[in-house]
């Protein structure tokens, strides 16, 4: 929309194109991956399906972001055209012609959490611990 720009006018087409990367690494809160369902209806009788978030995400890693943005917009005729300005990529691989037009970066809203497999193995091994699990211990 470009409503934050000083040159904004309803008849002035000044909205930005946004490139979203790493959509495969999104996080949902709590047990939303198991509980959140995405509804789809084919239009035929009995054509309703409810797909869980983890299933949707396995099928298409960009779909959850896309639907979240689509739902947050007003349901008017402009919505589908505005969605054309959002480019979502599951990882950091962005086509060259898209990347060379990127002029700015939106800052992250939260800090990126550090996962155990992000920490180098040496540091993990050196980390102080109370006891070792016995060899016949079965992980849950």
């Amino acid at each position: 929309m470009g409503m934050h720009k000083p040159i904004y006018h309803p008849m002035n087409d000044c909205g930005d194109v946004v490139v979203c990367i790493n959509s495969r690494d999104i996080a949902l809160r709590g047990d939303e991956w198991k509980k959140r369902a995405y509804f789809h209806h084919t239009g035929y009788p009995g054509g309703a399906t409810w797909t869980l978030a983890w299933e949707v995400h396995n099928k298409d890693p960009t779909m959850i972001i896309k639907k979240a943005v689509y739902r947050s917009m007003k349901g008017n005729l402009q919505r589908r055209h505005t969605m054309e300005r959002l480019l979502i990529y599951p990882d950091e691989e962005v086509p060259e012609d898209v990347l060379q037009n990127v002029t700015n970066q939106i800052r992250q809203l939260r800090l990126v959490p550090t996962r155990l497999d992000h920490i180098p193995e040496d540091e993990v091994r050196k980390f102080p611990k109370v006891m070792d699990y016995p060899k016949d211990y079965v992980y849950k």
């Binding site: 040159i7 008849m11 002029t103 800052r107 992250q108 800090l111």
Partner: protein, 188 residues
């Protein structure tokens, strides 16, 4: 902008100041009064024609006045302006004084003002002194040479800092400063 305004003539707000600086030019060029001689709806119009029309024509020699009697039709005033606008207005059942006021309004206005969609509610001949805004004004010039995505520009820098964090920062700054001091002393 609603759909009913799509075919409306559009323009900008303007002050009609320049007309009258040197000399006044009446913008109304031609006015046609259509009326019926017998119907009651034209009563006010007939009164106007009987009492005021000759004076009107005498006071405004630049305006062409036509009278068009039409049997059993409602009274209408059509005004044509210097800029080509044509204003059509029904005078059905209007009284003498109302018609006088409307015709005075038509004489003094500049073009068809009521049927004009304003593109903006403000207008200026000098839009900007320091140059118009572009997406790159007030942006960090480092972005021009950076290869994006870059964690330097993408990392979050707006989280509130806890007291512990602040203390840690202060301590680190202190320790770095003390190190530098010692190094300087060594160099001396």
């Amino acid at each position: 902008m609603s759909n009913s305004n799509l075919f409306l003539k559009s323009g900008f707000v303007r002050a009609p100041l320049q007309n009258g600086v040197g000399r006044y030019v009446c913008q109304l060029q031609r006015i046609v009064l259509k009326f019926c001689k017998s119907h009651g709806g034209s009563r006010g119009m007939r009164d106007f024609i009987e009492q005021d029309l000759v004076d009107f024509a005498r006071d405004n020699p630049s305006v062409v006045v036509y009278l068009k009697p039409r049997r059993h039709r409602s009274p209408v005033v059509v005004a044509e302006y210097l800029n080509g606008d044509r204003v059509w207005m029904s005078m059905q059942n209007k009284t003498h004084s109302e018609i006088t006021k409307w015709i005075e309004n038509m004489r003094t206005q500049q073009g068809d003002l009521s049927a004009l969609r304003l593109r903006k509610y403000q207008y200026t001949d000098h839009p900007s002194i320091q140059g118009p805004w572009t997406p790159f004004t007030f942006k960090n010039p480092e972005l021009n040479v950076a290869t994006l995505p870059d964690p330097k520009f993408g990392a979050n820098n707006r989280l509130p800092m806890s007291a512990t964090e602040q203390l840690r920062m202060m301590f680190e700054k202190q320790s770095i400063g003390s190190k530098e001091d010692t190094e300087e002393k060594k160099a001396e």
